[in-house]
């Protein structure tokens, strides 16, 4: 394809087999760059088409749009930063009750702990707590 070719929003939507609203949404959320030029002079290039196809590829692989945005913005080599936590969202946390009044709060997903590790961790904490309690009694 000719690299200098330009497209309208309609055309790139057709090329990527996506509704216009969806393409516009990707642009609005920063997954795809805004067009060159303004107003009636706005146009899109090959690069925009590539970006659209890339988003589609990631989406088919099962990524959420939010995560795709983070992946695309990732510039450096190395591990992805954990998904940033949006203020005002409600999260799932496990509360491990050690004793009345003592609680350990964790999100095993974020912490990267598997169930065995969570149990091991909890056993450890419980042991420490018990030791403390027993120490009190001995004294």
């Amino acid at each position: 394809m000719d690299n200098s070719r330009t497209f309208t929003l309609d055309e790139i939507a057709t090329l990527a087999e996506l509704p216009r609203r969806t393409v516009r949404y990707y642009i609005q959320t920063g997954l795809v760059d805004r067009p060159q030029g303004v107003g009636k002079g706005a146009y899109y290039t090959e690069r925009h088409v590539e970006q659209l196809l890339l988003v589609r590829k990631w989406q088919l692989a099962g990524l959420s749009l939010e995560r795709i945005g983070e992946v695309l913005r990732q510039q450096t080599s190395g591990p992805l930063p954990p998904a940033p936590r949006r203020k005002g969202t409600v999260e799932v946390w496990s509360h491990l009750v050690v004793a009345d009044g003592v609680e350990v709060t964790l999100d095993p997903g974020r912490a990267g702990l598997n169930p065995e590790q969570v149990r091991a961790f909890f056993r450890g904490v419980a042991e420490v707590y018990e030791k403390l309690q027993n120490g009190e009694e001995e004294r």
């Binding site: 216009r20 609203r21 949404y25 303004v38 591990p79 409600v90 990267g112 909890f122 419980a126």
Partner: protein, 721 residues
């Protein structure tokens, strides 16, 4: 105003585009007409598009839409959906303003307010009409204000999917005028503090404060001993007429209440936290109270998983009832997600071939994809009676579930009387079933809706509509009910003449109301043509307003998207449960909060594991010993999902498409379930992706390197192909 404007700044820093919502309602006898005005204002330096998904009552019929923008008032038109979307997009692309109102699913709508210029305001006024239904001597006016966080992926487009936030506080004001037969009634508002003024011709109910947060449904309960409870209305419909009739039949119950076969299903998911679970406990108390020795029951609690008390129905003698009480006392909103479909499946299994059998479901209904659940329920053949609890119940789901299974639904807000509603449900369940329910319209009637009436309960309301090709109606409309015990009840209503003074061939509100009832049973082209003729928003039509701007004042860029978030339902923020001493929580128990954001989980299955292994088998080599394999599996367990994404993205940038694809596929594989064990082949493939990435210069996270050292895995070892 300035302090208010500051408060409206969202946590992300941008100004919330929805500045105000006012609700004014008129209740004339049983017909409520509610007018909502949403005010939007662009308080930013760039042009914006505000998108707001909001709830309306399930049976609301949208009548009109007006937009005031730039000093102009524009009337909305109903347009075929695809065409409306195209025209909206064209307007946005051209830099004009456009407003589009679409229905996402029953009870859920999205307002798209495109291209507001900096400092521009738009006020969007729409009204809907709803017929109140009597239940015994009470009726309930229900105005939802927010959409609570729902479990699972939203089936809607990303710009439409509702999002709620603890940090957003949208506000509304409300004023309601009550005319006609209900003026003498007794009013209670369990949801808000309201003032009530009785005037000569009307009663005025208004919020005590000027504004209230949109964090709970508004509910007005009306109790009237003496009121005309059955009525018919009529209006012109083009060259004919349309009529709607509302009956409240009373028919004799059984001398001896029928024993029940009942599966009680209780939602214990995270969204039930606070008020809702407290209500569920109360409901259970009431249920156990209402059960009799001759009944057979089982109890099912669900969240992510389903917990069954008895695998088959058990007689409800005192000892079993005590066991059930004990089970009920243990319940808490700690079972995670809302896997309601699985729970109902379990209920169907428990009920087995027992007929007749009922299900009594207590839930807040916060499920994104509820339609398949309703479909499954329909084929099960059991009646489902639902109790919708919480501050922001998903009315559409709990009502549709009951309706399609010939059960009934009761919505109960946190401060409403639960016991009374439970008793009501038990009366319905024990009552003789209506075998034949027919509405006899006079000659010349056609297009009846609903086409078939299945469930009628003593003292509940039945609404029916019809169309007449003639302009005169010859005689009354009648409802006849034959119960399974052979008794028949007949209720007759005169149809009043259509109000005069209306131009012939005009389509009246009554006609649009009747058409909206018909629409529920129509599909495709038939639905579209009815929706267009009667100007109704539907799965095939949207409301649309285009406000063209003069040349020179058009927006120049694609507008910045400003999704209006929902105010998180009150019970999720600060439950107002009765003060009780905190119960000591047993040691070692895990309490789960809400598992909300599982958006990615369902899509991961797009890449089947089988395909993965067949394509890559040539590349992978199995670790030499079982020990090495176990170590490799251990290491892979320590790799966070995101690491694979990171590798994939990085490899793509390095031009290593093959590695990128493999890492992405591996991510899909591990994403499909944390508990899933990898096969030997998959394990070695995963290990090789790590090795290859490291060799090419990818910085693996420290945790992985540490874990590899601990397990004795040499990640720098050459790959032996």
């Amino acid at each position: 105003m300035s302090s208010l404007a500051c408060a409206l700044k969202s946590v992300q820093g941008e100004r919330v585009a929805l500045t105000n919502v006012t609700v004014s309602a008129v209740l004339q006898d049983l017909l409520a007409e509610v007018t909502m005005c949403q005010s939007y204002r662009n308080q930013e330096q760039v042009n914006i598009e505000a998108v707001y998904t909001f709830p309306l009552p399930l049976d609301a019929v949208l009548l009109d839409l007006r937009v005031e923008i730039g000093g102009r008032v524009l009337k909305g038109v109903v347009v075929e959906k695809k065409a409306a979307e195209e025209r909206y997009e064209d307007a946005i692309a051209a830099g004009d303003a456009a407003v589009m109102l679409e229905q996402l699913e029953p009870g859920l709508y999205t307002m798209n307010v495109g291209n507001l210029l900096p400092n521009e305001e738009a006020s969007i006024k729409f009204s809907y009409s709803i017929l109140c239904r009597w239940v015994g001597e009470r009726l309930r006016l229900f105005i939802p204000t927010t959409i609570a966080t729902r479990f699972g992926d939203s089936p809607h487009a990303p710009h439409q999917a509702p999002e709620s936030s603890l940090a957003v506080e949208n506000h509304f004001s409300l004023r309601m005028e009550i005319f006609g037969s209900l003026r003498e009634a007794q009013f209670t508002c369990p949801s808000h503090q309201v003032s009530l003024t009785r005037l000569a011709d009307k009663v005025v109910v208004a919020l005590q404060q000027e504004q209230a947060a949109m964090d709970r449904d508004f509910i007005l309960n009306v109790k009237a001993l003496k009121a005309s409870r059955s009525f018919a209305i009529c209006g012109s419909d083009g060259d004919g007429l349309a009529a709607v009739a509302s009956f409240q039949p009373f028919f004799p119950g059984l001398q001896q209440p029928r024993p029940l076969n009942l599966a009680i299903v209780i939602d214990c998911s995270g969204s039930m936290q606070g008020d809702s679970i407290e209500q569920a406990r109360k409901a259970l108390e009431g249920i156990l109270e209402a059960l009799q020795t001759s009944d057979h029951v089982s109890l099912i609690a669900f969240g992510n998983s389903t917990h069954v008390l008895w695998n088959r129905l058990m007689p409800c003698h005192p000892a079993n009832r005590e066991v059930a009480r004990h089970f009920a006392r243990q319940l808490d909103a700690n079972m995670g997600g809302t896997e309601i479909g699985k729970a109902l499946q379990t209920a169907y299994e428990v009920l087995g071939e027992t007929k007749p059998a009922e299900i009594l479901l207590v839930t807040d209904g916060e499920v994104s994809s509820w339609k398949p659940v309703v479909q499954d329920a329909k084929t099960s053949g059991h009646r489902i009676f639902t109790v919708g609890v919480g501050n922001a119940v998903s009315e559409a789901f709990v009502r549709e579930l009951a309706r399609t299974t010939c059960g009934e639904c009761e919505l109960v807000a946190p401060r409403e009387d639960m016991a009374e509603r439970i008793i009501r449900h038990f009366e319905r369940m024990r009552a003789p079933r209506a075998k034949r329910v027919v509405v006899h319209w006079p000659d010349g009637a056609c297009d009846f809706a609903p086409s078939k009436l299945d469930a009628v309960f003593d003292g509940d309301t039945v609404i029916s509509s019809a169309r007449f090709s003639d302009t005169s109606i010859s005689g009354p409309v009648a409802l006849s009910i034959e119960t399974e015990t052979g008794e028949t009840t007949r209720l007759e209503l005169p149809i009043p003449a259509a109000p005069l003074g209306m131009a012939q061939e005009q389509i009246s509100t009554v006609a649009r109301f009747a058409a909206s009832m018909r629409l529920k049973e129509l599909d495709g082209n038939a639905g579209l043509s009815v929706a267009l003729r009667y100007r109704l928003v539907s799965p095939w039509t949207n409301w649309l307003v285009i406000a063209a701007r003069p040349e020179g004042s058009k927006a120049q860029n694609i507008p910045v998207l400003r999704k209006v978030q929902q105010t998180e339902a009150a019970s999720m923020v600060a439950p107002c449960v009765m003060a009780m001493p905190p119960a000591p929580i047993p040691t070692g128990r895990i309490m789960r909060g809400m598992p909300l954001f599982s958006r990615e989980s369902t899509r991961a299955s797009l890449l089947p594991a089988a395909e993965l292994s067949s394509k890559q088998s040539s590349r992978a080599s199995l670790p030499s010993s079982p020990g090495a394999l176990i170590a490799a599996a251990g290491l892979l367990r320590a790799v966070p999902e995101d690491e694979w994404l990171g590798i994939s993205q990085w490899a793509a940038k390095q031009g290593r498409q093959d590695l990128s694809e493999r890492a992405l596929k591996h991510w899909s594989l591990v994403r499909s379930g944390p508990k899933k064990e990898l096969s030997e082949m998959q394990t070695s493939q995963g290990l090789e992706i790590l090795k290859e990435a490291k060799r090419l210069g990818f910085n693996l996270s420290k945790r992985i390197l540490r874990e590899a050292r601990r397990l004795g895995i040499d990640l720098d070892e050459r790959i032996n192909c």
